[in-house]
């Protein structure tokens, strides 16, 4: 059973956060191990497995990027594993320039400005995915998702750098 089906939701890129929460809470009310205290071990084991499956589904679908990656995989788009090298020269160039810019920033404000820009880039790229899914353009979906993954990682690095700058200041 795929994650969408497990939560009784349509397999779509756009997902109403409140509907996802509702579906998840309803299912957890049925399967959470707290509901099985004092029940026979087999029932408890089954509940634990079901609850873990629900948590996996919820976590994957909650975040727009991981949801997009998951939906792409359901649609037969193959993405390299996390941390594998990038085969897209445009993206490599963008990554190199961004990393250089981050390296040169010396204040928390400058890092924030970069981070804001990355967030906007991510939102734009995510918004553009819908059309690509409609067109079943697997190559373009793959390219966009790889870029989003990289942007996500970059945002993480920016955050680390910001913590570092603040700590030095303190």
């Amino acid at each position: 059973m795929d994650h969408f089906a497990r939560l009784g939701l349509p397999a779509a890129l756009e997902l109403d956060g409140a509907a996802l929460d509702r579906a998840y809470f309803t299912a957890q009310r049925q399967w959470h191990p707290d509901r099985f205290v004092g029940r026979p071990p087999e029932e408890r084991a089954k509940a634990s497995t079901e609850a873990a499956g629900l948590n996996d589904a919820y976590r994957t679908l909650k975040d727009p990027l991981s949801r997009a990656v998951y939906l792409a995989e359901l649609n037969g788009v193959e993405l390299p594993g996390d941390g594998k090298s990038i085969d897209d020269p445009d993206l490599l160039m963008e990554a190199m320039e961004a990393r250089e810019a981050l390296h040169e920033t010396a204040t928390a404000e400058a890092v924030d400005a970069l981070a804001t820009q990355v967030r906007e880039d991510m939102q734009r790229a995510l918004a553009g995915l819908g059309t690509l899914f409609l067109r079943h353009d697997k190559a373009a979906i793959r390219k966009t998702l790889l870029r989003l993954r990289y942007l996500d990682k970059f945002a993480e690095e920016a955050r680390a750098k910001r913590t570092n700058l603040q700590r030095v200041k303190a």
Binding site: R29, H32, A51, R59, K161, T163
Partner: protein
């Protein structure tokens, strides 16, 4: 004819009234412990004859025999320090290797590692005792207090643990309960229990923060609440930050003032303890008024010290700023901002300090909830959950893992399998493969922490998966599965999936990391992220280069005859250069040498491939060849 009753799956049947034993909630604290019970949704802490709810978490084994717990044990500590132990919670689930972390903090004699168990033991009252046994004494005392107050047997409990407690500390807590004759219905995280006590879910739904500042620890959690659901979104903290730091600041100031006044003190441990006790009193008074003074009498020379609230606040400002920094990082982890937070719950004695209240309220932008006693609030929440679990309540607690769980891969790099703040229970698996041709065993090393390198994370367990059928490097598929249950306890298993001859191993980590280590590890991960990435890239380059050397050596051993002497010499030279680069620390040099060697050995690789094809075709007739090509 009577019909059999069948319950809906997941519905807990109501116990027959009066028949089942009662279930209590227990806050097993570092400094104090509390036991509470809830009836029909109303929790109450259970008091002793003198009306006290707090039981000091001190255990004593008097020379005269027997065991004392609580206030009596604390009194005995002054006379028989070697027979009493306090703050045992800090050692729960910890091994001898962790002890350097608490050296000097806990003045106990440590037993050298004995036998199977890795857990540390203390020599108290002339006998080696584990933190599990000692904690069990506290739990037994709480159980006895509950049975006396309720006049009924008490056999089941919900016990709270810090959100940060790792796997081993949780296991140790559960074991202690078992020793005390209590069945643990659930281990619940302290901030979650506090939110439960406030019944926040019953009001308007939304996002709430729990700010928990105790004597020595700080925790900050974000929870989303709606009608009966408590969903923990993210949690973080620092276990070496708390009210003790405030006391120390005030004590240091007084000792410095004496020096300025020309009083020459030989400052020993007793002097520091006296100064700290006075500092604590003055701190507490400043929660009620704007200024206070104290008389510090050391070695017969008294001195008088005045302290205004403004001075005190200036002294502790940096500590509070640090808690707010951590809180901001938790907000980022939860992908949310302060404006989304509806309110904040204050837990722990140190939240009585007015500046703490003011600063937290200013950051969150809303007044803090403080109407439940911060020392009792956690036990009250635990009692409510105990009632819900036994009485079929409708409350749903959805908690998360506090720290990432992962495995060691080649070169000491951590591959994270379960990221921090993942909702539990969780079952996640990852496939790994072999590094060398013919490899038949794989060492599996489970670690916990946020850093990229194994050496910077905490080791939880090691085991070996053997009996992997010999295959070429990278062909085997080893699936390693992590399961974390609703109590936050981890189990790891591994199986070889290529051949179907599945060998399965399951481990339970033996001991874990300290509360303090965890906070440090989290903070370090943010601080070192940049350096970690560089280190990771270097290690990856090395691993990749070594892999190609292994492959080249295997090929040379088999088909070396295909090379002329000069070609062989050139390849050997390239090989030596790459080995030298691997020994250095320059990633670019390693990659360049690896590439040069690849270019050098390219004709060799081509010749090997040609020969491979020729061999495959040798002895085939044209007809056979065509039918093969057609396949």
């Amino acid at each position: 004819m009577s019909l059999l009753e069948i319950h809906e799956p997941g519905e807990t049947p109501l116990p027959h009234a009066g028949e089942a034993s009662l279930a209590v909630g227990i806050d097993l604290g570092t400094t104090n412990s509390v036991v509470a019970i809830a009836r029909e949704g109303i929790p109450a802490a259970l008091h002793d004859e003198t009306g006290k709810a707090l039981v000091p978490s001190v255990v004593a084994y008097p020379a005269a025999g027997g065991v004392l717990v609580g206030e009596e044990a604390r009194l005995l500590m002054a006379h028989e320090p070697r027979n009493a132990v306090a703050s045992i919670k800090r050692l729960m689930g910890r091994g001898a290797a962790d002890l350097h972390a608490v050296a000097g903090v806990l003045p106990y004699e440590i037993e050298p590692g004995s036998g199977q168990t890795d857990m540390v033991k203390l020599r108290i009252g002339g006998k080696a005792r584990s933190p599990v046994e000692i904690s069990a004494e506290i739990l037994k005392a709480l159980r006895a207090r509950a049975e006396a107050a309720l006049d009924k047997p008490v056999e089941r409990a919900v016990i709270t643990v810090p959100a940060y407690f790792d796997d081993a500390a949780r296991t140790a807590t559960r074991d202690a309960a078992r020793v005390a004759g209590l069945e643990v219905l659930r281990l619940v995280n302290e901030p979650t229990a506090a939110a439960l006590a406030y019944g926040l879910d019953k009001g308007s739904e939304g996002l709430y923060a729990v700010y928990d500042l105790g004597g020595g620890t700080f925790d900050f959690s974000l929870l989303r609440l709606e009608k009966g659901v408590f969903q923990v979104l993210a949690t973080g903290g620092d276990a070496a930050l708390g009210g003790d730091d405030f006391d120390r600041a005030v004590a240091e100031r007084m000792l410095a003032e004496r020096k300025t006044d020309g009083i020459a003190d030989g400052i020993d441990e007793a002097a520091v303890k006296t100064a700290l006790a006075l500092a604590r009193q003055m701190k507490e008074q400043l929660s009620e008024r704007d200024q206070t003074s104290g008389r510090l009498d050391l070695a017969g020379t008294p001195s008088f010290h005045a302290l205004t609230r403004a001075d005190f606040e200036a002294m502790i400002a940096t500590y509070i700023a640090r808690t707010l920094d951590i809180a901001r990082n938790v907000l980022i982890d939860a992908d949310t901002t302060v404006s989304d937070v509806q309110g904040v719950v204050l837990v722990g004695g140190s939240t009585r300090v007015p500046l703490v209240r003011a600063e937290v309220a200013a950051m969150i932008g809303k007044a803090a909830l403080t109407d439940i006693d911060p020392d009792e609030v956690v036990a009250l929440g635990a009692a409510l959950q105990a009632e819900a679990l036994t009485g079929g309540g409708d409350t749903l607690l959805l908690d998360v893992t506090p720290l990432s769980l992962g495995l060691e891969t080649m070169g000491g790099i951590v591959e994270k399998v379960v990221p921090r703040n993942t909702p539990i229970p969780v079952q996640l698996a990852q496939d790994f493969t072999t590094y060398q041709d013919g490899q038949t065993a794989m060492a599996i090393h489970v670690v916990q922490g946020e850093r990229e390198m194994v050496a910077d994370c905490r080791s939880l367990a090691r085991f070996e998966l053997s009996g992997i059928p010999p295959m070429t490097a990278g062909a085997a598929r080893i699936r390693v599965s992590f399961a974390v249950d609703a109590d936050g306890l981890l189990a790891v298993s591994a199986e070889e999936r290529t051949t179907g001859m599945a060998q399965r191993i399951e481990v339970k980590p033996s001991y874990g990391l300290s509360h303090e280590d965890m906070a440090d590890m989290l903070y370090d991960s943010l601080e070192h992220a940049e350096a970690d990435v560089a280190q990771r890239l270097l290690t990856e380059a090395r691993v990749e280069a070594k892999r190609s050397l292994l492959a080249l050596d295997a090929a040379l051993a088999k088909d070396g005859a295909l090379l002329t002497t000069e070609e062989r010499a050139a390849i050997d030279q390239g090989r030596t250069r790459l080995e030298a680069a691997i020994a250095g620390n320059d990633r670019d040099a390693i990659n360049a040498a690896a590439e040069a060697l690849e270019t050098l050995s390219k004709p060799f690789a081509e010749r090997r491939m040609d020969r491979g094809i020729r061999e495959a075709l040798a002895g085939l007739s044209l007809g056979e060849l065509e039918s093969r090509v057609g396949e």
